[in-house]
Every structure is written in structure tokens, then in C-alpha cells.
Symmetry: C2
């Protein structure tokens, strides 16, 4: 096993499982972004072969923390790629953001089985990435809970027999709020997710429902489906993670208590299933599972993501890049909660007017689209929208 992004939320859950079942797993490589101490500690705990830190300046510190062990240290982008390419039965690709694209693609191109937790590989680079998976003849196992659920519900099904794939959304902490209330949402409030403990960026995406929109785009690439066969239903308990409806009227669903270790374990052990220490589902104790339609008028990010999926080409990469910039601006209290969707929409409109190509050739095109999305979004932030936005922020702070 190798874990790319070992110190993040998914990486830590993965290591928790690997450490519980040590005789079964040998760890080839661990990587981290900046946290040298956590990386060294984990590498020693699992007896990794190689530890790589993305920050080139972290080399000295990592080397001295690993002194006296057999663990090789590396730093910088090339070291991360090397970690991804190291021989391993499974590479857990859990580097967040566009930074995860190159290393994950490198693992795929080496024919490694990839347990995928990076959204950008499918959202921004979906066609390029899936083409590489097919070319390498390797296996891709989604490790977020919704796609893992679809994967399990589909197991062995003929593609033609599927009528509909439904992802569930908790609806986030602001489900049912009106526009006026949504305008007052603070980063602190948005970071308190009712069901899942996750990183900051994804928690905000959960609150805006952009997370679910990005998952629709991912599902489109992962599973043999048309955009109109993909659906979202709000399910506040986060117990049912996805449902697959077949043409005979049967629906298969995967359920589990919210815990990332369940889908990660599947990625590590499929087609077997490893024991996990997760809380077991107790339907009688839960009493009820409820479902409602998402309000995509109030939570416009979901609508924008569907629009990007239907438009295709570079649009999902633009959407994702703009959303990253917008969420960061929200977390810094530069814009209000509702402006996240406004910024993304404005960025998509401007990008569509620009002469950006709508087809992809390779990862370079994707990275260019990603950069364009970030640049356009930052420009809007710095200019006109910022004026409008700051008014809202002042109102809120008053």
C-alpha cells in the first residue's frame, strides 16, 4: 500500500485501518503536503519504505526526523511522483485539490490499482483520467462514501440494466434556510457539519451542496451513465449513501453509519471485505430514514455543477477551480456564503465567453483550465463583485 496525502482526513483514516491490521499490509510510501512531523511519525508507525514531503524546504527536517530508521526521505514534486510510482498493490490517492492530479495519474499509468479520494481527477480531468485508467487496464476504486456505495450497489450489473443512480446529500447544516438567513452564514457555522467530520474545504462544499454537484460529475465518469440518469436526494441522516435503480424495479442501496473508514476499507480490500472497527448500523435505534428533494434554487451550486456536467469540456474544471477560490474567500470572510455560487457562476460565464477549447488532450489542458478558472475568479473577486460582496459582509457584521 501507498498513501498519497497521509496526513489529511482520508489519509489519517486509511492509516488508522492499516495500523489495526499490520500483518496484512506493508506500506511502500507515504506523502504529505507540509506537515513533516506528522509524516515522519506515521512513516515510522507503519514502517514505510519511503516518505515524501511536497514542500521542497521540508527535506532537511524530514531526513533528521527519520534518522536511525530504514525509511528513505524525499521532498518536492518529483518525490511525490516517485512515491506514487513505487511498487504497491494499491495506492490510496488522497491528496486534496489539483495537486493530486499528477501523482494520481502517475500511479494509474504504472498500472497501480488506485483507491481514489481526490475529486479533481474526475471533476476536472475526468476524460483524461478515465482514458488513462482504461489504457493501463487498472482498477479504480472510489473511496468517498457515495461513489463507494454506487460501486457496491452496481457490483456485477449489466450497464444496460441501470435506470438511475441517486446520490444522497445530508443537505448540510443550512437545509431549509431561506435566502435572508443563508446570507448571514459565517465560516464557523458552515464548518459545523451535522454528520461527517471532514476537512474545511469539503465541509463548506457540503454546506453549499457543491460537494454533491462535484460528486455528480465524478459519478458520470466512474459509472456507465448519462447525465440525466444521475440524481440527488436529500437524506439528513447520512445513512443511505447512494441508490442504484434497475429496469426491473429493484433498487440496491448501500447504508452505513457515517465513517470514512468503511469506504476506505473497501478500497483497500475489494473484492474481499476487511473487518473495521466502525459503528454498526442499527435501524431500530435510528427509527426513520427521511428523504426530500434538494432545493437547487437556494443551493445554486448544485445547479451550476449539473450545468457544468451537461456542458462538458473544460466547464467542470472551471467550476471546480472557481469554487476553490470562492470557498477560500468565504473562509477568509472576504465574501458571504451566497456569494460562493455567484462567484462560480460569474467565472463560468466569463470562461464560456473566452476562447477556451472545449476538448481535452492531456493533463496540461486540464491544468490550464484549472489555472484559468482560478485567475478569472480572482479577477472578479478583486474587481466589481468584491464591491457588491463587501456590502453583504458589512451588513452581516453590523
Amino acid at each position: 500500500m501507498s498513501v498519497l496525502g497521509a496526513t489529511g482526513s482520508v489519509g489519517q483514516s486509511t492509516l488508522d485501518l492499516l495500523k489495526r491490521d499490520p500483518p496484512r499490509f506493508e506500506v511502500a510510501a507515504l506523502t504529505a503536503h507540509r506537515d513533516v512531523e506528522a509524516l515522519a511519525r506515521e512513516a515510522i508507525a507503519v514502517g514505510a519504505e519511503f516518505a515524501a514531503i511536497a514542500d521542497p524546504g521540508g527535506y532537511g527536517a524530514l531526513k533528521s526526523l527519520l534518522a536511525g530508521t530504514d525509511i528513505r526521505a524525499g521532498a518536492g514534486g518529483d518525490a511525490i511522483i516517485e512515491a506514487a510510482q513505487l511498487a504497491a498493490d494499491c495506492v490510496v490517492a488522497a491528496i486534496a485539490g489539483a495537486a493530486g492530479l499528477e501523482p494520481t495519474l502517475a500511479a494509474v499509468e504504472q498500472g497501480r490499482r488506485v483507491a481514489l479520494a481526490n475529486k479533481e481527477c474526475l471533476v476536472s480531468a475526468g476524460s483524461v483520467f478515465m482514458e488513462a485508467v482504461r489504457a493501463a487496464g487498472t482498477e479504480l476504486l472510489p473511496v468517498d462514501s457515495e461513489h463507494s456505495a454506487v460501486f457496491q450497489a452496481l457490483a456485477g450489473a449489466e450497464p444496460g440494466s441501470v435506470e438511475r443512480i441517486t446520490l444522497t446529500a445530508s443537505g448540510g447544516p443550512f437545509r431549509g434556510w431561506d435566502h435572508a438567513r443563508l446570507a448571514t452564514v459565517t465560516p464557523d457555522a458552515a464548518l459545523r457539519h451535522p454528520n461527517w467530520s471532514m476537512g474545511r474545504k469539503i465541509t463548506i462544499d457540503s454546506a453549499t451542496l457543491m460537494n454533491k454537484g462535484l460528486e455528480l460529475i465524478e459519478a458520470y465518469h466512474l459509472f456507465p451513465t448519462r447525465p440525466d440518469q444521475l440524481d440527488v436526494v436529500v437524506h439528513p441522516q447520512s445513512i443511505v449513501h447512494a441508490l442504484v435503480a434497475f429496469r426491473d424495479g429493484s433498487v440496491l442501496a448501500q447504508l452505513a453509519c457515517p465513517d470514512m473508514r468503511t469506504p476506505i476499507a473497501l478500497g483497500l480490500s475489494w473484492p474481499a471485505r476487511m473487518e473495521t472497527p466502525t459503528k454498526r448500523l442499527d435501524l431500530v435505534a435510528l427509527g426513520a430514514l427521511t428523504f426530500e428533494a434538494p432545493d437547487s434554487d437556494k443551493f445554486r451550486c448544485l445547479k451550476l455543477a449539473r450545468q457544468a456536467l451537461e456542458t462538458g469540456g473544460m466547464t467542470p474544471a472551471i467550476l471546480n477551480a472557481a469554487n476553490e477560490v470562492a470557498v477560500e474567500a468565504f473562509l477568509q470572510q472576504r465574501i458571504g456564503f451566497l456569494q460562493i455560487a455567484e462567484l462560480v457562476e460569474e467565472t463560468m460565464e466569463r470562461a464560456a465567453k473566452g476562447a477556451v477549447s472545449t476538448t481535452w488532450q492531456d493533463l496540461a489542458d486540464v491544468l490550464e483550465a484549472d489555472a484559468a478558472g482560478r485567475r478569472i475568479c480572482a479577477e472578479i473577486l478583486a474587481s466589481n463583485l468584491l464591491g457588491r460582496v463587501s456590502m453583504v459582509v458589512s451588513e452581516r457584521l453590523a
Copy 2:
């Protein structure tokens, strides 16, 4: 395809599917118990090769109804066996009661794939029947909704990875009633099932929860599981039909609007899935799925069935036979609703005291146990219990 029990509830649903997709299916044989006219009509509608009526006296009528067609007519037990043995890709075994044992076993022994809707094959003759399935190397596809759900949720799973199999029960029309109210239940009230349209016997079994108890015994034989891994949860909406919990914390469930055509279609087309005209699941319209623990103190048939499963040997056959007699007595208003469980329990106790063997050799032993259960139960009915029971009935009628 052949359909044994073509004029019953499952048989009719099967024919509905076969008639919708005629170019796909050719019908070898249809059988019926007594209803010569319905049998002849269906045989002509699907262009069957052979039609057999169990009632030997029905031969003349069947022959004349089929005059002018190419359909061969047969009558009596041997004709039913012949129908079961006729070359067919799949035999739908939907003869109700112990009468279904021999023909279904005959189909299995010919190596036919059997879509099984007869409970007795597994409840009374489980070990003998499953041994025959293994010996013939054939496939057994359960076509009732709960076991079809388990079958789908298990697809491809390693037996060792399963922690628990949960069947759902609607709870019947008397869920939450207390003893005093249950004592007043009439056959008419018990025949009004909230979710399913089924035959009379199975509708009463649904109301007493004996149906779910018998399904636990069936599940034990169908799937690699221990009795203590089998569970029942009450789910009044009858949308989730069963759930399989795995050791990684994942639970796979099958959901569908209550319609027998969905599990029957799976039996006919697995591993493909045929299109059905069934109502599609709409979780948003449903709003909520609820779950509660079954009350096996009030619905004692469930407890008795679990006891029979744990005791093993002939006990499930005795339980099933006694229940058939008791339900018939209830439908004839000879006993009250609560006396169904009393009669079954008393029969099980008397049979256990008798020197009946606890192991099975062949179908003859099963038929003997079945006959013993019926005889003992009838004796109780005719003697002491009847005295107690008639009091309750008179009170109710007063």
C-alpha cells in the same frame, strides 16, 4: 420456462411478465391445482407445450378446453411431475404448500434452474432440498421479495464477510395491538394486508408474523449463515425488503415498491435484469422509511419459528404443518387469532415428546413429519384446546 402453480398469485404475476415479453420466452409447461378453465386459458395465451391439472378428475374438461390447439393435456400427480421435468431453462415453482415438494424436487433433480416460490421446499424439507440442489449442480433463485433482496445484496460476496442478514416485516395489519384487541381479530380483518396483495394463507401468516418466521428458516437454508446471524426488523412501508450487513460496516439493501413481479423478473432473467412495468421507487414522495423491533411476545409465531430453526431436524416441518392446519381453522372461525400460535406451540411440544426422528434421510421423512404435524394439530383442535378456543370465539361473536 415452465410455471408450476400457474393460476395462483405468484403464477399469475409470472404469466403477466411472460405475456408482456413474448418473443423472449417460450413456455414449456403450466400446471394448476383445480382451476381447469384458468389453466386452459393461460396455456392458450402463452402457447404452452403442456398443461397439467393436479385434480385427476379435471382431465376431460382440460382436454376439451384445449381441443383444436397443439397443447397437450395431463392430469394427476404424475402429470405435474412430468410438467416439472420437461426441458426448460427455468422452472417457476409456485405450487403452494406441501403439494409443491415433489414437483419442485423433480425439477431440481433434472438439473433445471428453479425460481422458487414454494415455502415448504425450504421450511419443511430444507436439508433434503438443498442437498438435491447441490447434487444436481443447479441454481436456485428465491422469488419472494425478502430472499430475492438478500440474494441481490449478497451478489458476489465472500460468505465470511457477512455479519448479519435482516429480513423486514411489514408488521401486518395488527402492529402495535395489545393482546385483548388481538383476541378479537376476525378472518376478514386479517385478510386485509396493508401493502401486499397475496393469497389467503400467506396473508394470515403475515398478520401473525409466522410468514417472517418461515422466511427466517428459508434464509438459513438459502444463504451461508448461522441462525444467530438472522434478524427481523419491522418496516411498515414494505419498501426495504432485506439488508445484508458486512464486517466492514457496509450494509447493502434492496428496495422496491411492493410488487411480486420485481423478484419474479429477477428469477426469470438473472444475471440479466428484464424490464418490468412495476411502479418505480420515489423516495421523496415516500418521505420516510421507518423501522422498529418486532414484538415477539405478542406475535408469538415469530418466536416459535426461531425456536424451530434452532432446534432443527423435523421441528420446522412440524411447525409449518401445524400452522397450515391452525390458519385453516382460523379462516373457518373455529379458533381465534391468538390460538393460531397456541395450536402451533402445543403441536411442537407434543411432537417433541413423541419419538419422531430428528434427522432427515429423504422426502418421505419430510412428508411423514408434515403428516404428523397435521395429525397432532388436528387432534388438539378436536379435543381440549377446542374447548378453550370456542370460548374465545363465542366471546368474540357475542
